[in-house]
């Protein structure tokens, strides 16, 4: 079933790409134009997606309890971190993210906090001071 859903999504993508590429026609001397290559790719993409729909593999196990909770929390960290990085600054944002990730992986609070201090300040010192790559410091430490 998973393969069928994925196949349907990729098939829709291929069809959309084929149609969207149609608007890219430019009348320069370039005989291929910007539309030909995407269409040449969309064709096998669509056919292979069809194959996936017709002959799917058995479903993988998508969710495994209780690990899925850790995965969702990690994904949340992955998206919250970029939003937090510039307003909060690198050391604070990194510390928070590292504490959460370490807790997900079964560290104790003491381990998580100590580890996060090492990782955040270690990387900050290494990159900002050592390599001279400016990282946002944030208002707390600034």
């Amino acid at each position: 079933m998973s393969d069928r859903i994925a196949g349907a999504i990729f098939l829709a993508l291929a069809v959309w790409c084929w149609i969207a590429a149609g608007e890219y026609a430019v009348d320069f001397s370039d005989p291929a134009g910007p539309a030909l290559f995407p269409r040449m790719v969309a064709l096998p993409l669509g056919l292979l997606s069809l194959f996936l729909i017709i002959r799917p593999d058995p479903d993988p196990g998508w969710i495994r309890w209780p690990q899925v909770a850790g995965q969702i929390a990690t994904i949340a960290v992955l998206f919250v971190y970029p939003a937090l990085l510039e307003p909060a600054g690198f050391p604070l944002a990194t510390m928070l993210a590292t504490v959460v990730l370490a807790k997900i992986l079964g560290a104790s609070w003491l381990q998580a906090v100590l580890g996060s201090i090492v990782v955040s300040f270690g990387l900050f010192i290494l990159f900002d001071w050592g390599f001279g790559l400016p990282l946002p410091i944030g208002s707390i430490f600034g």
């Binding site: 291929a14 320069f28 993409l45 194959f51 058995p58 993210a97 807790k103 079964g106």
Partner: protein, 510 residues
């Protein structure tokens, strides 16, 4: 004998203090990355590429650093295979079979020493092979026009489909997904924005490095969260690797055979080190398994796969440097590094920048010597690192990915793209769709398209140009043969009626 002259020039380039230092650092970091289960060579090199890029090293030095990391990973992978029975990276899987039984029966120092020497033999042989074969391939490829290059890319994508992954349809699908992702952004020839939804962030397309770090490193973290075992058994302390000369002498033929097999497997596009070690082990077992001792701690079963995977690592550099078509996942990542440094691999690279190519080859020889030294007397340092807990390692990997990507463009948008590619990569891996073809498509798509359009411009739109030369026709015939073989193998392995076997195909399919 002009090769010798080139090589001497190469050593002049490689023996600068900076390059020696970078080679040493690369070997050291590479061995650690290889040894630690959970960060394989692709992930390790992918994470480090943004660093090499932002340190603003000269192109040659950056390439030396990353290639030494790559070679180092191949040496390091065996350590946790032998000590923990967990492969440090995928190519080291075969080394578990005989390495761990050896360690259990108290022969860990011998296993580490023999596999270390086998790695050296494999690495050195393949670097010689790279030195001899890459220029020959260049002589051949210099006659390639745009139409021939286009057919070469077609061949590369199809062979990858045939060689990697259990389901060729899915691997080919992965390549087309990558090619499609590669067309996002402004079309370089006409300036038309393609598939950008009008979002200005997407006008430059997807940065290959950002996509690679996401696809490999971040998805690996998500996979690890699912499969990790809460308690890892610690490795017994081993302070040095040691074997008697007689033990080593007995495996010497094995090492040479493994190196040859591995090198060939490495040169084939898309196969890479995992296939090299697998073939080397299987062939060696067939040749010299006296009394069924393979799998129970036969030193030859340690020597063969290690020689094989290290030789494949060097072999995979041949098509990457000579043709710009990488032979494995990690060389694809190295190609991404070269492209971001504005270097186009291929025959012209050997002509225009011989100091870069030969400097790299010379430093690979150097790296092999460094790695042998690091891995025999200092192996204790690396075995001790195996006890780093996951809760300390994984957040560090995630954070260094974030810093690396952020330091390229200083854009948080790229971090979101990286995270999105991480989830995408995780889903693809669950569906058993290989990631390497996606990356290759993304990387090579624009060159493939440019060659196609150049060919059509030369012929004024006549498509017959694609089959107008014997080289192109030969490459298409090879492509067709590969395709037929792949389909035949896929069909004969699988019954036409799908049987429900969900239980067998568990989570650890990849």
């Amino acid at each position: 004998m002009e090769t010798v002259g080139f090589l001497l020039n190469g050593f002049q380039e490689a023996l600068t203090p900076l390059n020696i230092f970078l080679a040493l650092v690369g070997c050291f970091i590479g061995t650690i990355i290889g040894a630690l289960p959970g960060i394989g060579p692709v992930n390790g090199v992918a994470i480090l590429i943004p660093l090499a890029f932002t340190l603003q090293l000269p192109a040659g030095s950056a390439l030396i650093l990353m290639s030494c990391v790559y070679y180092g990973c191949m040496y390091g992978g065996r350590i946790s295979s032998i000590m923990l029975n967990i492969p440090g990276d995928e190519p080291a899987m075969m080394t578990c079979l005989d390495g761990y039984p050896m360690a259990k029966s108290g022969k860990a120092p011998e296993a580490l020493a023999i596999s270390g020497i086998a790695s050296f033999v494999g690495g050195a042989t393949s670097t010689v092979g790279l030195m001899l074969f890459a220029p020959i391939l260049v002589q051949f490829a210099i006659h390639f026009g745009p139409a021939e290059y286009f057919s070469l890319y077609v061949l590369a994508f199809v062979t990858i489909g045939g060689v990697t992954g259990s389901n060729p349809a899915k691997t080919l699908l992965a390549a087309t997904i990558g090619l499609m992702l590669g067309t996002v952004g402004l079309d370089p020839q006409s300036g038309v924005a393609r598939f950008t939804f009008g979002d200005i962030h997407l006008y430059d397309g997807f940065q290959p490095i950002v996509a690679i770090v996401g696809l490999f490193a971040i998805s690996e973290v998500l996979v690890l969260l699912e499969t990790h075992h809460s308690e890892r058994t610690g490795a017994l302390p081993v302070n040095r690797a040691f074997a008697r000369w007689a033990d080593i002498k007995g495996t010497f033929g094995t090492m040479i055979r493994g190196s040859g097999v591995g090198f060939i497997a490495g040169v084939l596009p898309g196969a890479g080190a995992s296939l090299g070690s697998f073939l080397a082990y299987t062939i060696e077992r067939r040749i010299s398994d006296e009394g069924n001792t393979f799998g129970t701690g036969n030193p030859k079963g340690v020597a063969a796969p290690e020689a094989g995977n290290n030789a494949a690592a060097g072999g995979a550099l041949v098509p990457m440097l000579a043709l710009g078509v990488p032979g494995s996942g990690t060389t694809a990542v190295l190609l991404a590094l070269l492209i971001s440094l504005n270097i186009t691999p291929g025959p012209l690279l050997f002509q225009d920048q011989p100091q870069l190519v030969w400097g790299l080859i010379a430093s690979l020889f150097m790296a092999n010597v460094f790695l042998l030294l690091l891995n025999l007397p200092l192996v204790g340092v690396f075995t001790r690192m195996l006890s780093i807990p996951l809760w300390a390692l994984m957040p560090f990997v995630v954070m260094i990915s974030f810093v690396g990507v952020y330091s390229i463009s200083h854009s948080t948008f790229d971090l979101v793209v990286m995270a999105a590619f991480g989830i995408f990569g995780f889903i693809l891996r669950k569906l058993d769709i290989a990631l390497v073809p996606v990356v290759l498509g993304l990387l090579l798509g624009s060159a493939m398209e440019a060659n196609m359009r150049r060919a059509l411009a030369i012929s004024a739109g006549d498509p017959w140009i694609f089959v107008s030369s014997s080289i192109s026709i030969g490459l298409y015939v090879a492509t067709a043969l590969f395709l037929v073989a792949a389909i035949y193998m896929a069909v004969s392995n699988r019954p036409l009626i799908d049987k429900p076997n969900e239980d067998e195909k568990g989570l650890n399919a990849d």
